[in-house]
Amino acid sequence: MEAVIKTHQLTKRYRRARGITDLDITVNKGDIYGFIGSNGAGKSTTIRVLLGLIYANAGRAEVFGLDVRRHKREILSDIGYIPSEASYYPGMRVSDALKMASQFRRRDCALEARRVCGALSLDMNRKIDELSFGNKKKLAIALALQHKPSLLILDEATSGLDPLVQKAFWDLIMDRHRAGATVFLSSHVLSEVQQHCTRAAIIREGKLVVEDSVEALSRSAAKRVTLRGCDYLPEDFPGALNITNINHNTSFLFRGDYKKLMRDLQAVEFSDLSITEPDMEEIFLHFYEKGGEQK
């Protein structure tokens, strides 16, 4: 499998804040890769190193098989980047920003820019200073897509967008993905990762906790056990985490020996039982609680 992004022992330290430590991730061609972590976990730091905005203290980062320090221009010419909060030059119109970006890339992107702006209902004649946060985000999306890049780096890309625009955004991203683009999505909206991503990594305090396919992550994480007609489960019930009781239904996360679980449940009153795959939120909490043990 051809790696589009590969980091090896990538480390970035700041003077006062934590950055990333010995980060090893691999994003393969065609992946929609979710990069998950809480605020300050190191997601944006990783992205900025990949884009050459900041430089790593140690380790290596490659995009398209090229070193990000030495081949920055070549790499950036085929990347579309959506920052978490986009800033623009004052006094510009949407069309000016799009034209400026296409001039940097020495490509005529007018047709695709019009198509993307149309899909997002973004008026190209409006002044950027007058745009709302959501509309500025739409412009960032158009800027990232208009040159049809083969790698999209999205940093909290859907924050500030209403559900309809989010749908339009994902339609555009999936179009690009079907056309062969690889997508690197940093997010803490876990449902988004679960819905769209094929692979994911969880980063915690600058360190990689786990990296795998979303399917494998779901398998390796704890399962959600729900006991209907059950009002009480002891807090020290073996292997149970995050016990909740709502409307005579008791639910908990379980990871361990299921035969033993069945034996232990014989002492508990309930009328029905279901064991389901956890959602992304639960996977995330599972790995976060376990810290770096999984790596």
Binding site: L76, Y81, S87, Y89, F104
Partner: protein, 262 residues
């Protein structure tokens, strides 16, 4: 040249406002010349009695009512101080603004290297300073024409060449400093210009500290000194550019390797 075009688009109004404001004062000062010249005897006597103040502005070694000296003194201050401040403000912001206003995150993920950005920004800054100086020179000619006077060609050219060098020295220094900064602020630039200006006044009073003349570009823009030197003081200009030039080069090297604050 996209960065250059953007800078010009972004700054042309400000450059025009500065140029026209300074030019207005230049024309005003020139139109007052005939009245002032009528009282030259009285003014000369005043200057003699001014003592340290006259010394401060280097008035005692020249006839300040000779037309070119008058122009050099009055308009030299407008373009020297005003133009110096303009150069400092422009240069101080032109690089640091990208990080200060977070537009670095728009600009630098594009396939353009940092040195190219700096070169284009530097050219944009030079053009702005040249435009300001050119408009000011035109205003000087208009003002002189209004009172039926004309400038001695060589002294006028030498004087404006020196002022342009002074503006550029400030700009080169502030551009270099701007590369090290993460936030846009004009305060350090304006502080430097005022410091340079007062160092020159200090040198005029106390000749024993004349070694400081290489630290202030205002030294070589003095019309009296340019006249007695027979042209621009290229030794002072050359040495004056040494430290700003070094800071400029270090600034560019630093900027191409620094972590951008976003």
């Amino acid at each position: 040249m996209t960065v250059l075009r953007n800078e010009i688009r972004f700054h042309w109004k400000g450059t025009l406002i500065w140029s026209l404001s300074l030019s207005f004062f230049a024309i005003l000062a020139l139109t007052l010349y005939p009245q002032v010249a009528n009282y030259s005897g009285m003014f000369n006597a005043m200057v003699e009695r001014m003592g340290i103040l006259g010394q401060m502005f280097n008035l005692q070694n020249m006839d300040m009512f000779e037309f070119m000296n008058y122009y050099g003194l009055e308009n030299g201050n407008f373009l020297g101080l005003g133009g110096g401040m303009f150069a400092a403000i422009t240069a101080m912001n032109i690089v640091a603004r990208e990080e200060g206003r977070h537009t670095a995150e728009f600009l630098f993920p594009h396939p353009i290297n940092r040195t190219t950005v700096l070169v284009q920004k530097f050219i944009a800054m030079l053009l702005q300073i040249l435009v300001l100086n050119a408009i000011f020179i035109m205003a000087g000619h208009i003002g002189a024409g209004l009172i039926g006077m004309s400038f001695p060609q060589k002294r006028f050219t030498d004087f404006h060449l020196s002022l342009l060098m002074m503006n550029l020295q400030v700009a080169v220094l502030c551009f270099g400093i701007s590369c090290f900064r993460k936030r846009d602020s004009v305060v350090p630039g304006l502080g430097l210009v005022l410091a340079f200006y007062f160092v020159n006044l200090f040198i005029n009073i106390n000749r024993e500290v004349a070694t400081f003349k290489y630290f202030t570009p205002y030294y070589y823009t003095d019309i009296g000194r340019i006249t007695s030197n027979g042209g621009p003081m290229w030794d002072a200009i050359g040495l004056g550019f040494a430290v700003p030039g070094l800071i400029f080069i270090l600034g560019i090297l630093y900027y191409s390797r620094k972590d951008l604050a976003i």
